[in-house]
């Protein structure tokens, strides 16, 4: 049986092989990287953020208190701080006309919330089957009606309609799993 996140963090101070860290990395690095990339718009900076988050994790694993927050919440809190630091560094540089650096803490918070949400929605869509993703893409983003989708794809109209309903129900379930309130 897989160890819980909290157990892995508890074992981290004694982890010499890197096995515990590797497991935590595989559980959380993709979403932290997606979050940081969305928040910073820069893959290299996002890599640095993820590296810093995991360095903080292994250096301060003893400080983690599972009664106060889940491991996920804790990692996101570290990532947020690193991203805010990156924004502050960007704001301290002489500003060019095309720069859109964020100024206030509220703006940064709003941008970070949006970055998390974008990553969550993007990864929820990625978890749908290609057929389900396709009908959502054509209907929602392409503004096509069911009839137009049926004509374009050659799929019977009834199938397109039921597929669209199933796709949305599945998406709703994924959001529930991710604890997103649709």
């Amino acid at each position: 049986m897989a160890s819980s996140d909290a157990t892995l963090v508890e074992r981290l101070p004694f982890d010499r092989s890197g096995d515990e860290l590797r497991e935590l990395y595989r559980r959380y690095a993709p979403e932290l990287f997606g979050f940081a990339t969305n928040a910073l718009g820069d893959r290299e900076l996002a890599e640095e953020v993820v590296q810093d988050v995991f360095a903080q994790l292994w250096r301060h694993a003893e400080d983690y208190d599972q009664r106060r927050a889940s491991v996920r919440t804790w990692l996101y809190a570290i990532a947020r701080n690193r991203i805010i630091d990156a924004h502050r560094r960007a704001a301290a540089r002489p500003r060019r006309a095309e720069d859109d650096s964020l100024d206030s803490a509220a703006e940064i918070d709003a941008a970070l919330d949006h970055a998390v949400l974008r990553w969550q929605v993007g990864s929820a869509l990625a978890r749908l089957s290609p057929a389900h993703r396709e009908v959502i893409r054509l209907a929602h983003y392409g503004s096509l009606t069911m009839r137009e989708i049926a004509e374009r794809t050659g799929v019977p109209l009834g199938t397109v309609k039921s597929r669209t309903s199933y796709a949305l129900r599945h998406l709703r379930l994924i959001f529930d799993e991710m604890e997103i309130e649709p």
Partner: protein
């Protein structure tokens, strides 16, 4: 929950406003009188707003494949460093460390291979920037990862010139094993630990130490023989 038998397949298209105008109107009337379809429509109603958060073909960012190794490499190297003694023990710890260092030096001199059995060896040959340098690397698996025991001679540059050791994977990925410095006579001996998986790395390279994200010039290179 799903809609009623006759209209269940229309709830999703209705929520996405993807029905024809007359179907949209008929569905609106149906929802007003059908609790099952009404509940389903309410459950899905906010999905379009969430979908608006991303572009149609927005790719989900995925970490680069080497990031995991880089983080683990940093972790293992940091863990391999001895923990700093607490301040109140410094008076005792410093003389004790000095004695331990002498003992360790004697052990290293008398047991050049260390206690771990080497599982791979590489003779290092000079590249143009090495100006005739030579050396060898013994690779052994240890609890903290993979230890590379390096011996080098005729290194170019002055005493204290920093160099960096790299393990190169067959897919071309370079993993730093850490840096070391040359002695005044151009020789160097170092034990470095890297989080590399045995058998995955086939080449050892010595470069000038990286600066500002740029890898230094290659000084020596050798193929690991397992």
């Amino acid at each position: 929950m799903s809609g009623c038998r006759s209209h269940a397949d229309l709830v999703g298209p209705y929520v996405l406003q993807a029905l024809e105008p007359d179907e949209m109107e008929a569905m609106r009337r149906h929802l007003a009188g059908c609790p099952r379809c009404g509940a389903e429509a309410r459950a899905l109603a906010r999905l379009p707003r969430l979908l608006d958060q991303v572009d149609a073909d927005e790719a989900v960012a995925v970490p680069p494949p080497g990031l995991e190794e880089e983080i683990l490499d940093r972790f293992v190297r940091e863990r391999a460093k001895p923990r700093r003694a607490r301040r109140r023990w410094l008076r005792i710890a410093i003389p004790a460390a000095a004695v331990a260092a002498v003992v360790a030096a004697v052990l290293v001199t008398s047991l050049p291979g260390g206690t771990d059995s080497a599982y791979a060896h590489a003779d290092l040959w000079s590249l143009p920037a090495g100006h005739g340098a030579a050396g060898s690397a013994q690779v052994a698996e240890v609890a903290a990862g993979t230890r590379v025991q390096l011996r080098a001679r005729h290194l170019p540059g002055r005493a204290g010139t920093p160099y960096e050791l790299w393990c190169v994977r067959s897919d071309g990925r370079w993993i730093s094993g850490g840096s070391f410095r040359a002695r005044a006579d151009g020789s160097a001996a170092a034990e470095l630990t890297a989080a590399v998986t045995p058998g995955e790395y086939h080449v050892v390279v010595i470069t000038r130490r990286s600066t500002g994200g740029d890898r230094g010039a290659e000084v020596m290179r050798g193929k690991l023989e397992y």
